[in-house]
Structure formats: C-alpha cells, structure tokens
Subunit: 273 residues, 2 copies
C-alpha cells in the first residue's frame, strides 16, 4: 500500500466513523452506541484512527479475521493489539472471506457460497487460534476480543480444541510444534473458552445457541442478532435470537448480562434500558 493509499484509507475510515457518531447523536434511542471501523490494511493509520474514534465515543473497534489475506498475527498488526490492550476497549472481530478462497486444492473458487456458509465461521475459529498460538493473548492480557457468531465453529469442536490440541505436534513431522504448548500460559482450550468474548448471532440456530452458551463463560457472552440479514430483510433474526435465549432455563440476572450487562462491563458504558 502506498502512502497515498494509506492516507485515503484513513480519511475514508474517518468519514465512516464520524458518520456513526453523528447517527448515534441524532437517534440515541435507536442507536445507543457505535463501533469504529479499524482499517488495519494501513496499520499505522488504522491505529491512529482507532484511537481517535475511541476518544470520540466509539464503544470499541471492529476488525476482520484477515487483513487482505494476511493473518492477524502478522507483525504489521501488533501495534494495533498493543494499543487496544492499553486502551482497554473491546475489539469486535468479524469474519471475512469471499468466493476467491477455494474449498478444494484443485479448484480456484468456492462454489455454492460455501465460502460464506462455512468459510466465515472457519475464519473466525482460525483467527482465534492464531491469536492464541502466536501468544498475542498472553502478551496483551487486557485484550477483549468479541468473536462473532459464538466464535463460529469453536463450540462444536471443543473435543478437537481440547484433547485434540493437547496433542499439538503429534500430527506434524517437519517441525516440533509441541514446544508451543509449553510456552503458552494455559491449555489451548482454556483460551477459547475463557479468554474470548462471543456474541449470540447464529441466525436462529437452536443447537448452536445451546452449544455456545455451554462453551463460553456466561460473563463473556454478548447479545447480537445479525439484523437485517435474514430472509425477511428485517427483524427475524433479532426476534428469533431473543425468543431462543428467553426460552432457556437460566436466572433472569444471567440473561440481563447477555442482553446488556456484559457489554456494559467491558465498554464501561451504561446503556439506558
């Protein structure tokens, strides 16, 4: 990326973020808070704009599971994690993948939108893994990373992340990956279950909601619905997500944490109810 492109990216992101602030100021009942866009494709500018937006009232910063194809543990992005660790504000992590990521080694394109249906949730779990094994979470213990869609596929793969990854290295012969386990502060599964936050947007999936709530600590779960990307292009996902969680046998105080309490705790902002 040229200096000019980076400058343009910064100005463009500023425009978006100032727009969010404006909408929230104008309609506080409908939009009680906003999340800044963090343009890590221009890493220095991304950090600058994240800091500016947070000063300007953003609840946190949204990034993507890859930055133009690069993993989040690329050294270029470390200043962002260092800054967010210092600022102690949450990072929303949104999956990103398109049809140009093939599902088979003999193909060049993902067919039937598999890149979205399965790829996005794969991306989320892979990004979590990279943040764990690169030791970014150990190095920056204040990071509050909110994974979208209950962390994608992570809850379903507890057995692989747990006893499976306790054997890291057993499936690899060209390098000794088992050393990494010794360098980490805890089991890989413990990072996935206890170090990440997760939102509830699973498009009305009942088994997924139960699995997500069973997997993560209750104080790490925040409400989200993915409105308006439902077949009605309206409130269906919000309605269904509310209905499914309301129907779960759980103390009212715990549900309040999911609706707003947990988000208030990590953003330091009190929302009107």
């Amino acid at each position: 990326m040229t200096k000019g492109d980076a400058k343009l990216t910064e100005e463009y992101t500023k425009l978006i973020n100032d727009g969010f602030a404006e909408i929230c100021a104008k309609y506080p009942d409908q939009f009680p808070g906003w999340v800044a866009q963090g343009a890590l494709i221009a890493p220095d500018a991304g950090v600058r704009e994240a800091e500016r937006a947070l000063k300007n009232g953003a609840l946190g910063v949204q990034i993507y599971t890859n930055i133009a194809g690069k993993p989040l543990d690329d050294p270029a992005f470390e200043p962002f994690f260092a800054a967010m660790n210092k600022l102690n504000k949450p990072i929303w992590m949104h999956p990103a993948r398109a049809a140009n990521f093939p599902d088979y080694l003999t193909e060049t394109k993902s067919k039937y939108e598999i890149w979205w249906t399965f790829g996005w949730s794969y991306e989320t779990a892979a990004a979590m893994a990279r943040l764990v094994f690169s030791k970014i979470l150990d190095k920056y213990p204040n990071l509050k990373i909110i994974t979208h869609h209950f962390g994608g596929i992570a809850p379903m793969l507890e057995g692989r992340i747990g006893p499976g990854w306790d054997q890291l290295g057993a499936r690899t012969s060209d390098e000794d990956l088992s050393l990494i386990l010794k360098q980490l502060k805890k089991r890989p599964l413990d990072y996935f279950k206890h170090s990440f936050y997760a939102d509830t947007a699973v498009f009305g999936g009942v088994p997924a909601t139960h699995a997500g709530l069973a997997f993560y600590d209750l104080d790490k779960v925040v409400f989200a619905s993915d409105c308006p990307f439902d077949p009605e292009k309206g409130t269906m996902y919000t309605r269904e997500t509310l209905r499914i969680i309301e129907g779960i046998d759980m103390p009212k105080a715990d549900k309040e944490k999911i609706w707003h309490g947990n988000l208030e705790a990590i953003t330091g902002v009190k929302f009107k109810s």
Copy 2:
C-alpha cells in the same frame, strides 16, 4: 494416474480389505464387522474393489471428503455413487486435509495443525454441501452417507445452512445461484438434517454431542468414538462418548438405536450384543 498405478492401487486396497476380513473372522468378538477402503483415486478400480469387498462381507465402504484434492461431485466419481446406490450399502465419509491446505490466501501452509483441528470438520461440511448442490443425493436416493464427527461443523451452523442458504445467490453477482434452489427437491437444510447419517465421534465434546443429537434425526445417528486417537492412546474417547450419551435423558430404546440399532438397519447385519 497411469493404468499401472491404478492396477497397483487396486491390489493394495484388496490387500487391506482382505486383511480386515481376516481379522474379523479371527476375532469376531472384538471386531464384529469391517468397512472396506474405497480407492476412488482410481475410480473404475475403486468401484470394482468396493463391489468385491461388499460381496466379501464388508458393512460398507469408506471414502474421503476429497480425492487427491478433487471434490466428490467430480464426474469421475459418479459411477461409485451409482454403484453404492444400487447396492444399498452405507458409505463412511472421512475427512482428509493436510498442512498443505493454507488457512490464509497469503500463506502456503496451515499453521499449528489448524488443518486438522478445524480443517477436517470444514471438509466434512463442504463435502456434504457439494453432494447436496450437485444433486447427487437427489439422483441417488438410496445413498446412505455416514458423516464422521456428527457432520463436523454442520450442527453448529444450522442457521447458516437454513435461513442463510435459503438466500443462496444473494451474495453472488457473477452467476445466478438462486436457480439451484428451485432445482433441488427440498431445502438445503433438510438434506443436512434428514438425508445424511452422522456418527458420534466428537472426542468427548459435550456441547457438540448435544448439538449433534438435536440436529440429526435419531435414526440417523450411529455410535463411533475415534478410538485410539486420544491423549491416553487408548480407550478415553470410547469411555467419554459412552458416558456423555449414557448421561443424556433419552429413552433406553433410542440409545440402543445409537449403539447398534441404526447401524444394523442400514447395513442389514445383526450384531451380537
């Protein structure tokens, strides 16, 4: 693949399959049945050997989620599905992926065994999708495909497979994918939930087991444990899988179906208990 390589593949697979038959004949109490290896890399020979092995007592045939990087809906493999549809015997579908399948477009290798932890389960769901959208399941309605690990990530992504894929085409502008939905006999989600079989091998994952049982029809779930790939290199996964399912509040008759009844129904073989 040359003719000579295909011949070698067939002979090698024969050796394996005859070895399985021999072990089962010798130790019927420990090994009540065997599943043939189907070597689809040499498609014609693969079909021939599958038919021979089934005549020789195999319960079904195991294939992989990709054949040397090719998807299962490649026309080269259709004769196999046609034959299995006619023979009315189950197909065990095992995931296959190695470190040479990268997780990021800028990389050439999957790091930290993510290819195994997440990749294998992605493979399973992607292969299911390809069998659905290519209409192979519609064309060959007797196919009984047993997906490993509760179908990988499928139960967790019910909301994406359901209302998400009901909007197939909405995320694609260079071709009209929505036509495919009209050509299929049912909703994509209905194939995933009601047309596939799934085994219970999730390495002791409790949320995964619950999600799997909630997602698939009860008469489609068959017991499996992935023994001996646990950290003890022994019976841990068998023990844990039994314990978790035993602990679920479900009629005894339903559990019997999972332990052996469903497999008996689709193989036509009665196992001693």
